[in-house]
Symmetry: C2
Subunit: 172 residues, 2 copies
């Protein structure tokens, strides 16, 4: 991997980095992450205006955080770096097709484009349930493996009303 | 909301808390979160073996973190508290149906049950794009509002091979 990193540096010295260069950087993250037992074999890089503003690898195991997927780590780092929850204009390079969690985080962050190499089916072959979650998300509550139960609560009406009347609210 | 919290304490002094009590706690999180301009009007509580092990409100705006939804904050706190990325046996109470990001985080965390009150359509009425993301997730890459592009990369084969041969890997 060190050789690959050196190659990127050399090759990009006199030109604008390409999709492939950023993807190589994402793969570097993935390799170093799982070789160091930080988590699964996934990496991601976020680029805005030609600059890397966030990157990361999967850290679920080492951080004891089920949400610490590579894309999430990179999004959180990028948001911190530019001091905004809005990453409009950014592109994310991910070694693998984002799982539904990371897919949605991309939407919430207003990222404009997702470039990826491995698919959810490759992830499945490697032992991960991305594809299972994609399947679960599209079926009715009653058919899911995890129970989803909608209950009424007296605070619902108050919450909707107070939020609708709030004059200084931020929508994101 | 102070009155509501006091009511819960009084009511639960001599009995096991009910679904409704935990949901009240989630609503308390939601109200205090948006009243203090931490983020959107959402709260969540995670319960395992009758104990609250994590809770939180939406903090997207105050933390400049697009991933800081109430359920994510609660999951990350619970994982930290029990020192594991595996929340098997837990129930999450969320004031609103989880968006696809939080939905998937629930699956990654092995939470067994989701109890919620508002729906994705209520969230839409309040100005949030949960329902839009649910719609986007189920359609083909080419039809989405955000571009998803699958590219080949020379590292794919190495990564799959090295991961499959790794003997000390954790699957989660």
């Amino acid at each position: 991997m060190e050789n690959r990193k050196k190659m990127i540096k050399t090759r990009t010295r006199n030109r604008t980095p390409s999709h492939s260069d950023y993807m190589s950087e994402a793969f570097s993250e993935a390799f170093s992450g799982f070789r160091n037992n930080l988590g699964g074999p996934f990496g991601a890089v976020i680029v805005k205006d030609g600059k890397i503003i966030g990157k990361g690898c999967n850290m679920v195991v080492s951080q004891n955080d089920p949400t610490a997927h590579a894309e999430m780590v990179a999004i959180r780092q990028a948001s911190k770096n530019i001091n905004s929850y809005d990453l409009s204009g950014s592109v994310i390079y991910s070694t693998c097709e984002p799982c539904p969690m990371c897919f949605s985080a991309v939407y919430w962050a207003n990222i404009k484009e997702v470039i990826f190499s491995l698919s959810r089916y490759d992830a499945e072959q490697m032992g991960f349930k991305d594809n299972h979650i994609y399947n679960e998300i599209s079926i009715d509550h009653a058919e899911r493996n995890i129970r989803f139960i909608k209950v009424d609560h007296p605070a619902v009406k108050d919450l909707i009303e107070e939020w609708s009347l709030k004059t200084d609210k931020f929508l994101y």
